[in-house]
Subunit: 403 residues, 2 copies
């Protein structure tokens, strides 16, 4: 037998023994955070690669054969600049856009460029845990901002900052998902965004705007991006092709002030993002973006409607409330205060329905709020399974005394 | 005019304003670190994607639509396990392999799991700057190990460690590229590897083995991997599909002791590597690995021969020496001691020949050695351009008084 080498005295102080995430799916999987596989335009992406090779093989091969530039593939940055101008109404050059391995990398790089140990960072009271995990890892002290069904409440934000400043705890920056927020599904109105920008300027506080759900709107009017309302550089804009096309493509991007971008990119591990996926995405979207959204979003709408109808039918007299989003992937379910659906999550998962319980999204990580809440992803399962799964969820909540 | 928001007081203490790398190519580009674009099996990769979709569309779509597992796509890990058993003679399960965004990410993750500020890390005296940059970033104090044309000299390594330990400076681990080293082109013999493993065990010092050039051998016998000679866990094995296929695919991997792997993966920013590229690579290599290497490596050999012949013709009576590698991408040129080819690098580049000067690879970063050395990549330019470029290089060195 080989004697096993021991690393016990060799691990770095910053490392932690973190179990790998198991990938398990409930029969009705409302715990995920992505659209359904069948919406993925795989044939279109492959065709786009082939077309790129057929039309200028030398150019495509040269791009693949080189290590990617730090900013990523030029053609996809050019396309992204055109898309931002057309869809989000602000003008940036391809040199002001950096492509990243998903928007998670973009957010992680910006956090590292802005955060010292102990810095206070604001975010919606319930917010995407991928970002709060990164914030905490890089030393941020996160404080949740009051929200209602319209997202961050500007007056509450201003009061909170004033109080923090009075305590010598000036916040460094604000992270927000203004469009179809994760997990609550809310969208900030243009008026609220303008008010929040004023507050941000008053307190010299950048806004890290995570716009990764903007393409997934199926009703109502898109609201102007923070970045479109403010050219000063105070807004860092992050978005992604992961939700519109597929998470497995790992393609996000960000644009911000040039000095911040240089500092953020200096934290990259390895080189730029995948050129192979970049060529496919650019080739597909430059001809098919609109038709893809036109197919995709009505499907999302039908799925959302199916889940919301089932909630009305099965939760209507339970005292629960839920958001009715205009896009994105999530319905936010709030059971009555006394109903603890966090502690029964694993059992309900085993019995067939997956969801992510509220405490996972709590910005302050106090563990004291959100036990009566859950994020339900309506985008992944079919219209039928959304209805069936919600019916089963009601039955299971009753069985566990949570309803 | 919009007033520009200032980040001056907001940047993190760890951030630095690092200019983006410009991508410039000399007419004869021996400064790069990758094979030629025309060797890239782009049609094969696209065909592999199409075949995967045609044969099991649902499975491929499901993989793409999910966020990748931390370890990366299972099929490519299974293929990699089979490849390691067949090509490198050691058995690991797919669960012991983690795919990464290029081998650079793998190396960065392992460095973070093992390195505290000020830790001493050993590496070949001249070694890949991508790794030394990461080592320094995460606080390592790098010390160069004596090498000759056969790579690390075991006796010198043992003496150096003994002296370091006597000074209370026990080294934490050794980083090495044992096969077709970057930049020197050397390969460690099996005997030296066995001797180095003994030294490593004596000093409780893991070996981070970077085997990213192993597939690029066109003559001589492949030497056993450190990992194949030692099952104890003391060896961390890193390799890549970037050199064999294309850097733009961004697919590397590592395998190591399970506790080290969990800690390394906990440093990931964002999720696993690109599923799209993973499906293409696995599909292509499972049928075409051997035929691709059979096409690829004779081409590399012809390119290397052409560069070496041109060196003999134009540098034969200059007092210079150069390595004659059995694979990989690089010839290491050593001019006579007094010849400073580092300081004229930019001018020679402008005049048509690109190379990377020795000091860039110096592990100790003393700036005192390597001014007479250069790494010449023979893999990128054609056979003809390799010959022409070396002739021009001799002419330019003479013009600048370096020869």
């Amino acid at each position: 037998m080989v004697e096993t080498f021991s690393y016990d005295t060799l691990f770095s102080e910053t490392s932690t023994d973190t179990p790998l995430n198991p990938v398990a799916h409930a029969k009705y999987d409302f715990a995920v955070a992505y659209p359904a596989p069948e919406t993925l335009p795989m044939d279109g992406l492959i065709q786009a690669l082939q077309t790129a090779v057929d039309s200028d093989s030398e150019k495509v091969l040269a791009e693949m054969a080189y290590y990617p530039q730090q900013l990523g593939a030029l053609e996809l940055r050019e396309f992204t600049a055109r898309k931002l101008a057309a869809d989000r109404g602000f003008a940036v050059s391809p040199e002001e856009i950096a492509l990243t391995n998903g928007s998670g990398e973009a957010i992680g790089l910006v956090i590292q460029a802005l955060t010292n140990e102990g810095d206070i960072v604001l975010a919606e009271k319930f917010v995407y845990m991928g970002t709060t995990n990164q914030l905490r890892r890089f030393g941020a002290d996160i404080r949740g901002v009051e929200i209602d069904e319209g997202g961050i409440i500007p007056e509450a934000l201003d009061d909170q900052i004033t109080q923090l400043v009075a305590n010598g705890e000036k916040p460094k920056y604000l992270y927000t998902i203004p469009e179809h927020q994760n997990p609550t599904g809310s969208t900030l109105s243009a008026d609220r965004r303008k008010a929040i920008l004023k507050i941000a300027h008053k307190h010299n506080m950048p806004i890290l705007e995570d716009d990764c759900y903007v393409d997934l709107r199926y009703q109502g009017d898109v609201q102007p991006a923070f970045r479109a309302l403010d050219d000063s550089g105070i807004v860092v804009y992050v978005a992604s092709y992961s939700k519109l096309l597929a998470p497995g493509l790992r393609l996000g991007y960000f644009t911000c002030a040039p000095d911040l971008m240089r500092r953020a990119l200096s934290f990259k591990i390895g080189s730029g993002p995948n050129q192979f996926a970049s060529v496919a995405i650019e080739g597909f979207l430059k001809s098919d973006l609109d038709s893809h959204r036109d197919n995709f979003n009505p499907m999302l709408k039908a799925k959302c409607n199916s889940m919301v109808s089932a909630l009305e039918e099965h939760f209507g007299d339970s005292g629960a409330t839920w958001s009715v989003p205009e896009g994105g992937c999530y319905v936010w379910l709030e059971m009555p205060e006394a109903s603890d659906i966090a502690s029964i999550r694993d059992e309900v998962f085993e019995q067939g329905v997956g969801y992510v319980a509220g405490p996972n999204f709590e910005a302050d990580a106090s563990g004291r709020i959100g036990n009566n809440c859950a994020r339900l992803c309506f985008a992944f399962e079919s219209v039928e399974k959304n209805a069936e799964g919600i019916a089963l969820l009601a039955q299971l909540f009753k069985q566990h005394g949570a309803m």
